[in-house]
């Protein structure tokens, strides 16, 4: 039944509940079961002793912890760290558990365990209090003229809606306009490929079949400005496969060198380093969400939640035999973003 209930009445509507008139009668709270400690003074005394013992154990534990803090100093030898941690921890554990188990044992065995019943009052206030509350609200409304004065009310809403906004806008300098930062990496025409993290340049002849080199642009070493930010876009995997295994599009035929290819290491899913290379399957596996890319086929996605292939870095070999980038990547590296394909 859906009667519109009065403001003041508390609805006792039962909805879809089935209220049977001949439900089984409530027999009342079960009678108290006497414990051993209730009827036997000997048991009670034993229980009291047990509780006291537990508290005493706690005192012992805390004292031990205090002693252990000084008795086990730490130095470069890692076993001293282990010992200090171990004994301090054992002491504190005993100190805590002694109190806890003791208190609970005390409550269970010695404190009265008679279940009692306490009445609940309806949460909703009685009718007269509710009516009085509504009276007060109505009075406040009348005296302020809140409902009556439309102009005041509406302009108040407007003011309250707008005043927090400056508080939000001052967070505007949390970070700069992302601009074109995601479209460019430290790779330029002629940048040498260098070993991560020491920055030594890589010769093509060093990259034998089945090798994997983790590479960064030359000059990007710890201590340089924005080291991690640049590395987060510029990290590259350098791999050599048998040249006849490479499936290359016309456009990319000169991006590799005798089976040596360079691909961005930043996963196009959400940015983890795609670092696992399986030599025989020539698949690249990302350990975070298991996106798998086929290295010999432009690193297109063969499994996992990624959608786009890894961007390829076009490379060449200079007169001294070192591997260099022909240019920056031809597309933004890393995870997708809304306007990545918009020509900037």
């Amino acid at each position: 039944m859906s009667e519109k209930s009065n403001d003041i009445e508390v609805s006792q509507e039962t909805g879809l509940a089935v209220v049977k008139p001949d439900a089984v009668r409530d027999p009342g709270i079960e009678p108290h079961r006497v414990r051993m400690t209730d009827k036997s003074p000997k048991h009670a005394k034993n229980a009291a002793r047990q509780v006291a013992l537990l508290f005493a154990l706690s005192m012992l534990g805390s004292a031990f912890a205090l002693w252990a803090y000084f008795a086990f100093p730490i130095n470069e030898d890692l076993t001293t760290v282990r010992q200090n941690t171990l004994f301090l921890g054992i002491g504190i554990t005993l100190g805590l558990l002694g109190i806890g188990i003791g208190a609970i044992h005390w409550a269970k065995t010695l404190m009265p365990d008679h279940e009692v019943a306490e009445d609940r009052h309806l949460i909703a206030s009685p009718e007269d209090k509710r009516a009085a509350a509504i009276e007060i609200i109505n009075l406040a409304n009348q005296e302020s003229g809140f409902t009556r004065r439309k102009l005041i009310r509406r302009t108040l809403y407007g003011a309250l809606a707008l005043f927090p906004l400056p508080g939000l806008i001052i967070f505007g300098d949390l970070g700069p306009n992302p601009g074109n930062t995601l479209r460019h990496t430290k790779w330029k025409a002629g940048t040498r490929l260098a070993r991560d993290p020491y920055g030594t340049p890589i010769k093509a002849s060093d990259v034998t079949i089945g090798s994997v080199y983790h590479a960064v642009p030359e000059g990007l070493v710890p201590g340089t400005e924005h080291y991690l930010e640049e590395k987060a876009k510029a990290a590259v995997l350098l791999v050599r496969v048998e040249p006849d295994k490479l499936i290359e599009t016309e456009e990319r035929k000169n991006w590799s060198y005798q089976g040596i290819v360079a691909y961005s290491k930043i996963c196009t899913h959400v940015g983890c380093p795609v670092a696992l290379y399986e030599q025989h399957t020539h698949h690249l596996l990302c350990p975070c969400h298991q996106s798998t890319f086929d290295l010999v086929d432009s690193c297109k996605v063969v499994f996992g939640p990624a959608s786009r292939p890894l961007p390829q870095l076009p490379i060449y070999v200079d007169e001294e035999g070192y591997l260099r980038a022909q240019s920056d990547f031809h597309e933004p590296v890393g995870p997708s973003f809304w306007d990545r394909s918009v020509k900037s």
Binding site: T14, L16, V24, G28, E115, P197, H269, G334
Partner: protein, 547 residues
């Protein structure tokens, strides 16, 4: 006045203190009101306390850590005692975490206590939420408290995530990288939010300091506020109790606050703290020294977030390939947006469930007696399906570990999980509902006919029967005291039209209540008893004859 002084002297120190405080704060009334307040005593009611106490442990251990941790991302060269990192470049945040571990007495212990109790906090809160769900404790008047609790759970996840990202190590740094990648994929504003969060390009030098503010100030403050609301509501509503003899919607049965409950609950704080301390003494957690400082190039096999973020990571992993599409020149990353949407939808359903169920049943009474899960079969089955869904997403985050530990193919594990995500929740709904109905039938059977004693008697006319022992009235009441609902039909409203709302409500009520087992009534039990007595007479005769 000399009268008061002599009274104080007579009643001793305790009374004296009480008087002193009361004369300044007038709190005697509070003590009278709450001192003997009754709290029911069931172990499943303590899960919320476990969460509360582990939060206290987090505050204590966290305060210690704030005195030693430095949330700066400025690069330094490590010169501490841990040999494999000596000379390595790292942030000050990571270096100070290493110092806490290796050079502060009790530092490693406190780090481990802090991290273990964080895992426990969210686990206990989650299990507590499940208990509240499966016993229907979220019904009126506690719907708002359910929402407050839900907010606390989310805040707990946030506190944990911001916390374990503070040491700026390789594992948590990759977690931040994943978050950044997800944020970048948000249409229109993604790259801007990413720039705002990290103060520029990832990783930048701002994020640890900002997460620190969130982790030690804003989120704990919010948790304390919502916790206070949660506990005030608990006191206001009084605690629920399981059905049973003497327990009604109009009373609360249990033990008085002082001294029993104070002793048990107070002691329990020491137990929770002690067990956390025990595990922190003997089990390593988050060995940051193995991971090294964060660098976007290396990564460890088995990169997972802490368990409570696992279901979100699993959602990312289970998304199929090639789910991105273009609208003109713009990229829409469905492989990120769909897991996000699914997670948010799941959370929304969890938060709103009490209101949905209440709309269907239309029961506007207060409920203070809990349901046994079997007596609300569809709710329990929905809960089981939800748990299964969450669990599969959670397991999805550890596909690579499952593959290595059980020597399976990573790819097959993933595909199996993608299928399970759809199939298993449905299966667990059906199975759970059937189990609940079967248990209800068994209860009804026992209520009417009593317990099977295992005594077989052969009656004079050749029939074999098993003797049943009737339940005592207390046990009987527990089995029959539950609420029974029936489905409704869609009825026309005042204008004579059957609205869509009414139709939906009717079909949902059918979904919920069409299969039901009603509680045994007094008459049914009396009939069964009467029948049992007749048989008992025959049994007695048979025993006589056998003698």
């Amino acid at each position: 006045m000399s009268n008061t002084t002599s009274t104080q002297k007579k009643n001793g120190f305790l009374a004296g203190t009480a008087n002193y405080v009361d004369e300044r704060l007038g709190v005697a009334g509070v003590l009278k009101e709450f001192g003997r307040k009754v709290f029911p005593d069931h172990w499943s009611f303590m899960l919320g306390e476990v969460a509360l106490y582990s939060f206290l442990v987090l505050l204590l251990s966290g305060t210690f850590l704030t005195f030693f941790f430095q949330p700066s991302m400025t690069e330094v060269v490590y010169d501490g005692v841990y040999a494999p990192l000596k000379g390595a470049h790292m942030s000050i945040a990571y270096a100070s975490s290493l110092d806490i571990t290796f050079e502060v007495r009790g530092g490693l212990l406190m780090r481990q206590v802090h991290h273990w109790s964080a895992l426990l906090f969210v686990a206990a809160a989650g299990l507590h939420m499940l208990r509240v769900f499966f016993t229907g404790a979220f019904r009126k008047p506690r719907e708002m408290n359910w929402v407050v609790g839900f907010v606390l759970f989310i805040l707990g996840m946030g506190a944990g995530f911001t916390g374990y990202s503070l040491p700026d190590d390789l594992l948590s740094g990759n977690g931040l990288r994943i978050i950044d990648g997800m944020i970048k994929g948000i249409p229109f504003i993604g790259t801007w939010i990413s720039s705002f969060l990290f103060g520029g390009e990832f990783p930048g030098t701002a994020i640890v300091g900002r997460l620190y503010s969130l982790h030690i100030m804003l989120i704990p403050a919010l948790i304390l506020v919502f916790l206070a609301i949660h506990l005030v509501m608990l006191v206001l509503h009084k605690h629920t109790h399981y059905s049973g003899a003497g327990k009604k919607d109009t009373n609360v049965v249990g033990y008085p606050l002082m001294p029993v409950y104070v002793a048990k609950a107070g002691g329990f704080f020491f137990i929770v703290f002690g067990v956390i301390m025990l595990i922190s003494t003997f089990f390593t957690i988050n060995p940051i020294w193995n991971y090294g400082g964060y660098d976007p190039s290396p990564v460890s096999a088995g990169t997972q977030p802490d368990w409570y973020i696992g279901w979100l990571d699993g959602a990312l992993r289970l998304a199929p390939s090639h789910m991105e599409f273009m609208i003109g020149d713009f990229t829409v990353s469905m492989n990120i947006l769909i897991p996000l949407a699914v997670s948010l939808l799941f959370l929304a359903l969890v938060a709103l469930y009490p209101f949905i169920e209440n709309w269907i049943t239309g029961d506007k009474r207060e409920h203070h007696v809990l349901d046994r899960p079997r007596n609300a079969p569809v709710r329990t089955a929905i809960g089981a399906a939800g748990v299964m869904f969450y669990a599969i997403l959670w397991a999805g985050a550890s596909t690579d570990l499952i593959a290595t530990q059980f020597k399976m193919s990573l790819n097959q594990v993933l595909t199996a999980m993608q299928i399970s995500l759809i199939v298993l929740p449905i299966v667990s709904f059906i199975v759970t509902k059937r189990i609940c109905l079967a248990l209800q039938r068994k209860d009804r059977e026992i209520a009417l006919h009593g317990r099977e004693t295992g005594r077989i008697v052969r009656l004079p006319h050749g029939e074999y029967i098993e003797v049943h022992e009737p339940l005592d009235k207390y046990d009987l009441y527990k089995l029959v005291d539950f609420k029974d609902y029936q489905p409704t039909l869609a009825r026309p409203n005042a204008a004579g039209k059957i609205t869509v709302r009414a139709r939906i409500r009717a079909s949902l009520s059918k979904f919920y209540f069409k299969d039901r087992v009603s509680p045994a009534t007094q008459r049914e039990i009396e009939e069964a008893r009467h029948h049992a007595e007749e048989i008992e007479q025959q049994v007695q005769k048979a025993i006589e004859l056998a003698k």
